[in-house]
Symmetry: C2
Subunit: 513 residues, 2 copies
């Protein structure tokens, strides 16, 4: 068994049986090993940012790492932005980055670069495997690191000769990740501060059903308010679940939500801060005089902590949950409100929603809150171009669920190549492009930062027309059937049709401006 | 004057008056400053890999840096692969990477990451500007670093508050880069080894006309052979210039070229090594018993050194140059030979050829060697997805020259977004996609590395059909007129038509397999 075969077999033995791959020469033995270890599913992507984003989406839905296969430093570089998002999502993920053979490194061949430095910027664990004898065990360690608590990105650098040399063995399988540490929290002390001027600020796994129900019981029993972090990796919501607002992205909106709060209790979330700094404002969002309590850090088990607190203060309480309701189907002009209403009216059962709609998504939370229970995946790290890849990975993770990918136009262009993988794998993803022909979020930011009101030359840098992007042509070119909607009725009709048919579809929703 | 205005004004004062930009919130003051400093031309790209590759292409043609404008770590990350190529091309380039305001850094907001570590992997110079008072001078230093000898990538990290705060001043203008050091070479000693079993191995600026003519004189006078590095940043060739073969990419081809060589004289090139290591082979390409001499390292002035050597041994010699000649226009099936012949037959005067044709480019050197003198830009660092961006930047650099972009299909998909910038700026670029529906280079590599002959699952990872990419639709979606050629006649007709019309065009050349 050569090293590459051992890596693939160890990944599979450890439950990592999907790899999103962009291989090159240094990875050819890994590729060849796919025929020796047929349990590994290899999903080809046309660009590494798709591979890393798809691995992120996969793990957000399964809780289990996928692997990526990347080609030296430049391949890892192309994947960095979505690995940044994965790091912020605390996603378990195993990167396998091929590198030159050990005796080739010192020749400074054209593709030589500092892979370890690149990897370090996004990984909680980095190791260069140095001998074929150890590569199986190194792979075991990579999986264990990824599945640690909290989960993280683990990067295994795999020299070509370590791959091609015989004498490797499959690494051991480790137990499922050790039980998360129960944090050393003061439940009774916290119980005293619960009430209407207190907010439980929820993040991470606390935003899945179990945590939400526990939080909902606490809210019902004590009047405590619930808020979610602004950009959750995965949040469950909809009919039958407590309605938990996400803290708004604009700092003034966030401050409004937090005004008057006397106690902010962090549950698997960090203290809220502004996304960007702005002239003359403080990036901290916690109001003056508000005491911050930590029930669980993001590194701790917020769900168990919530259950313990609920047991203490709300054992008999019944959480308030959302009644099923949907907006009426809108008619006429297609603005961002009508867009949201169409999504809310037609969102299918058990949908996975991937939300990179940015400014066009303003009305989505309200329009979808009463839809059948669904998962909502967001842009965790602010590196745009996450939506289409995450949707791709989520669809690989659970083919039984429809994926609805709500995607801003400018951001879509960062990783548009993901559509091809959706077509190749016939994934059930319906993408709606929020086509406003602009980097609309930046127009607002240009004002927010106090820049002089944009002149013509500044404005041109926020404009995506001239030429207008034709997303129907782009999707078609990548093998995804596509249509264009310019009215609310057209969007509804096309969304319904896309959902009714298996496989990927794209709708270019041309939004009234 | 705020910091951003000072940065833009200092760039312009230093001659850096083009910026390829992908701005976000942290860069909004830079964007606003474009209206205050109208001498700066801002070229919007849809993806940072396009911005960095375009800046590389621009500087390869001008010898002068362009700037990029990138958004924090993820934006820089998206640009890393083409910055890697720029580093390998020894391209002068100034990255301006926006970052959070200084007092926002410690809040660990979602976009926070280690920009400096990322920048260090591709930059010869990195600085974080820390005060508005210094930002003008910091910008001057960045330009000077980029224009150093050798040229390099310089990265200036620009915090948002340093941009928005008033009190900045324009940095000083430095003299044009100091005269390159004349290397301490032993011309007379080298003169003794010249002859038919000696090769002058040329790289860097030695591959432009002046160096080539000097090398050609030496060859004419002494029988010394000339070879060029495998992947030059820019090489001048064609009718009226000496015919200098590039050392082949496959190691066996390179070894064949170098067999029997007793003296290898490096002139602005590194000692040749294999691109990748392969099982059981040595990565060094210099034959046993061959003595390596250094006339000039890549860090030294190879052109002056060549002239000194030519003055000594070949002052009256007349270099052998290529006579004008073109292949006949081919007919019938469109294979890679016919593709090359069409290019050779129709290559316009003063063309800038950007070559990322990879396996499809095998016949290009022979088919174009007698075409009117032209520039040839190659994939310097092996990070695919360089061609379309470099062509974009080269066209910005010199609008008077036609750019011919010869592009492998799989690689095209890494930075296909470049077409939109070509359309927006109405650049005179004719792209021919070498459409073989596969990562063809990897099929060969799968054999080269000794991997077991590819099974079905391995083969699927090298295959780009299912679905086939429709490059005509993709180009149309990005605003570039496109056609499809399936015969030699069609390619010739469409290439001629594209060249005759200003603005960008794309031809999807479907190659017989």
């Amino acid at each position: 068994m050569n090293g590459a075969q051992a890596v693939v077999a160890t990944l599979v033995a450890g439950g990592v049986d999907v790899v999103f791959a962009n291989p090159g020469t240094s990875e050819m033995h890994f590729v060849a090993a796919l025929d020796d270890v047929p349990e590994m599913r290899a999903v080809l992507t046309l660009f590494e940012g798709v591979a890393t984003g798809a691995a992120d989406g996969y793990a957000r839905m399964t809780g289990w790492p996928a692997a990526t296969l990347l080609h030296l430093g430049p391949g890892l570089g192309n994947g960095i932005a979505n690995l940044h998002n994965a790091r912020r999502a605390r996603t378990p993920l195993v990167n396998v980055v091929g590198d030159h053979a050990l005796d080739h490194k010192r020749l400074d061949a054209p593709l030589e670069s500092d892979i370890d430095a690149l990897a370090g910027t996004v990984s909680g664990w980095v190791r260069r495997s140095l001998t074929t004898g150890d590569v199986g065990a190194d792979t075991t360690d990579a999986i264990a690191a990824a599945r640690g608590w909290p989960a993280q990105v683990a990067t295994l650098v795999l020299p070509a000769d370590v791959s091609w040399t015989d004498g490797a063995s499959v690494g051991p399988v480790r137990e499922a990740r050790s039980a998360p540490r129960v944090p050393d929290f003061d439940v009774e002390g916290l119980a005293d501060v619960l009430g209407p001027s207190t907010v439980l600020f929820l993040g991470g796994l606390a935003l899945l059903e179990g945590g939400l129900i526990a939080a909902g019981k606490i809210a019902a029993a004590t009047g405590t308010r619930l808020l979610a972090e602004t950009f959750p990796a995965r949040m469950q919501r909809g009919a039958g679940l407590p309605d938990v607002l996400k803290l708004p992205y604009p700092p003034e909106g966030a401050r409004k939500q937090l005004a008057g709060v006397e106690h902010l209790v962090l549950v698997g979330a960090s203290e809220p801060v502004a996304f960007f700094g702005y002239p003359g404002t403080d990036g901290h969002l916690v109001p003056e005089g508000c005491t911050v309590h930590v029930l669980a850090t993001p590194e701790e088990d917020g769900v168990s902590a919530l259950h313990a607190l609920a047991d203490l203060v709300a054992s008999d309480a019944v959480p308030e949950v959302v009644e099923p309701s949907r907006p009426d189907l809108p008619t006429g002009a297609l603005g961002i409100k009508a867009f949201a209403e169409v999504v809310g009216a037609l969102l299918p059962e058990r949908a996975i929603v991937v939300d990179e709609a940015l400014t066009s998504g303003y009305f989505l939370p309200g329009a979808t809150v009463g839809a059948p229970a669904h998962d909502w995946l967001t842009l965790t790290g602010g590196a745009i171009g996450q939506g289409l890849p995450v949707a791709t990975g989520a669809a690989v993770a659970d083919p039984s669920r429809p994926v609805v990918s709500l995607q801003a136009d400018g951001s879509a262009m960062y990783t548009i190549q993901a559509l091809w993988t959706q077509a190749r794998e016939q994934l059930d993803v319906t993408t709606i492009i929020c086509d406003n022909g602009a980097y609309a979020i930046l127009a607002g930011e240009l004002e927010n930062v106090g820049a002089p009101s944009g002149g013509e030359r500044a404005g041109k840098l926020l404009d995506l027309t001239g030429p207008a992007l034709d997303f129907v042509a782009l999707a078609t070119g990548l093998g995804v059937p596509a249509t264009r909607a310019t009215t609310a009725e057209e969007l509804a009709e096309q969304f319904r049709a896309a959902l009714a048919e298996p496989g990927p579809h794209l709708i270019d929703a041309v939004l009234a401006r």
